[in-house]
């Protein structure tokens, strides 16, 4: 791993950036005034987010819950840099990730951060159907700039961790839903991103498979200190998380109890598992 970004330690980055930008020390994500209105046709406009402030600490596993249309997916798309918040109609939005201002990045810079620092898991697995399980994982390595033997080693390692190293040569269609989701998790985790974003990751799985995936994600969160952000309808998933953020009508209704030291409190960092 020659790219320094792959060895990025968010905490050191934070300490330096803190002098330049007024950022809370151990928050991986810090967002203010996030708004998003979707234009449906010419007349109808749907306000999906109406000014959301949210802070997520490093190493936290946070569930975002709320009824359909409450804006939880929209929030995740913005935090995952898939969409940009609206700049007009209110105070300028702020979005900090790993101490960097995300609001001024170009599309290619956002793509680069998604590739290297974030991992995505979707409800419907979303593996590339023509690629084998291993190639799906390697695709993420490739996008992150990791190639050759290092990529192979990383892919094998993560496939072993999700318990599918013997299924690597199978295409997604030859795998069960639970297996596909574990491959998707492997793809999300292979680059050791600091943030995993999961949109209803258990939504298409039976309860046993759902538990497996949840435990897997939890394990990575504990062992590697990866920050997990899940959007879910499932209260069981919410219960497995450190904190549940409730949304309603495009606003955060409840930031949830904070079992780990809240980022605002600037707690000592020894409690957070090492990402090394």
């Amino acid at each position: 791993m020659t790219d320094p970004r792959l060895r990025f330690d968010p905490r050191t980055q934070f300490d330096t950036d803190r002098k330049d930008h007024d950022v809370i020390s151990n928050a991986l994500i810090e967002a203010r005034d996030l708004r998003k209105t979707y234009q449906l046709g010419k007349r109808a406009a749907v306000p999906a987010l109406r000014g959301v402030d949210i802070s997520i600490a490093e190493g936290e596993m946070v569930a975002i819950m709320g009824p359909s249309g409450s804006g939880k997916s929209t929030l995740m798309h913005i935090l995952g840099l898939l969409h940009a918040p609206d700049a007009d109609g209110g105070p300028s939005p702020e979005l900090w990730f790993e101490g960097r201002d995300m609001t001024r990045l170009s599309e290619s810079e956002r793509t680069r951060i998604r590739a290297r620092r974030m991992g995505f898991v979707f409800q419907s697995f979303n593996l590339v159907p023509t690629l084998t399980a291993r190639e799906n994982v390697l695709l993420a390595c490739d996008y992150a700039g990791l190639k050759g033997t290092s990529a192979q080693v990383a892919a094998e390692h993560v496939l072993r961790l999700v318990g599918l190293d013997d299924r690597g040569d199978h295409r997604p269609a030859e795998l069960s839903g639970g297996e596909q989701q574990r491959i998707a998790a492997a793809r999300a985790l292979v680059n050791r991103p600091s943030l995993i974003l999961a949109d209803e990751p258990t939504g298409n799985l039976d309860s046993q498979r759902a538990t497996e995936i949840l435990e897997l994600v939890r394990w990575f969160n504990r062992e590697h200190g990866q920050t997990i952000l899940l959007v879910t309808h499932d209260p069981e998933v919410g219960n497995a998380c450190d904190r549940v953020v409730h949304m309603r009508d495009g606003l955060v209704a409840d930031h949830g109890a904070v079992p780990v030291p809240h980022p605002i409190a600037a707690a000592p960092q020894t409690a957070i598992p090492s990402a090394a």
Partner: protein
Amino acid sequence: MKLARDLQRRPLRTTLTVLGITIGIWALVVFGSMANKINAIVDGGSTFYADKVTVAANGSGMGFGQPMDIDTVAEVEAIDGVALAVPSIGMPMEDEMSGGGLGMEYISGQVAGADHGLESYVLNMATGRDLTAADEGSYVTVLGSDIARQFGASVGDTVVLRDREFEVVGILEPTLTMPDSSAMVPLAAGQELFVDMIPAMFAQDLDPTGVVSGLTVYPETGVDPEVLAEDLRAANPSWEVMSGSDFDEAIGSATAIFNAILVGIALISLAVGGLSVINTMAMSVAERTREIGIKRAIGGSRTRIVGELVMESALIGFLGGVTGLVLGAAVAILGNELGRESGFLLFLLTPMTAITAVAFSTVLGAVAGFIPAVHAARLDPVAALRYE
């Protein structure tokens, strides 16, 4: 190969698209090979005529037909700038344009070595020997490679040229141009054949040894053949004088037609093949919207998405090009094999034509795939992920 897997998703559609390009490239290769052949013949003529001037009687066209008096040689040589005028006989092998040969076969008679080394256009022997001045008075011939094949003759055989038997003493190496379809004979023998050809009422007073059908005029060193041609024209308006530029001009229009056909075929194949690739790739992109969304979401850059799709369409173009080339080459080879009988080879498939055809189709595929690819890369990843 992942690229090939993407093509195999819709095998029928991919095959049809490849076939669309195949047809275009096939036509390009076939017409290109024909144009190559014509161009080679013309280039040979250009080279031959570049450093000399030919003189024939008015109305003779390209050197055969009207008789000229042998005294013309002295008349021409008296003109300033003329180093040497070599009398020659040229006539078609058949009176009528014959079937397979397109009437391009001709007989040429000249005293061997009469050019005194001034001729720069070198003919090499494949087998046998060249004509010599000592052959004057005998009925021997050196055959061009195509005409030898047409006669099925080899050295030592006897062939019939305009009802007269000739012994084949040599066969030329292929030149890809006029000499390939000509039979070279000594001047005296040529003169006899020539006089025989002339209708009796005009020929009765003619002494064969006093008749030629044309002169090859070599300029003195430092004399521009084009300027000399003008001088010759001025000296005697009844002469039909042809220089290198006259040849290029006369023949250029014929070549231009072939080249225009070639360009036309290329443009049609560009339009048809290109549109079908655009269509195929647009459908592929639509079908893969969700997959493109996945790739974008997990960090695939727009450049990467465009690159993957353009590579795929370039591969379609390449496959179509290679198939078209193989089929076109088959036609060229088969056509020449059939034409071998009559001695006329219609096609000349050069490596340049082959490479150009495949490169053209590959670039065409890539360019055609670019538009849908850019469209794909600009998709909103979130919307694309929701796409069913």
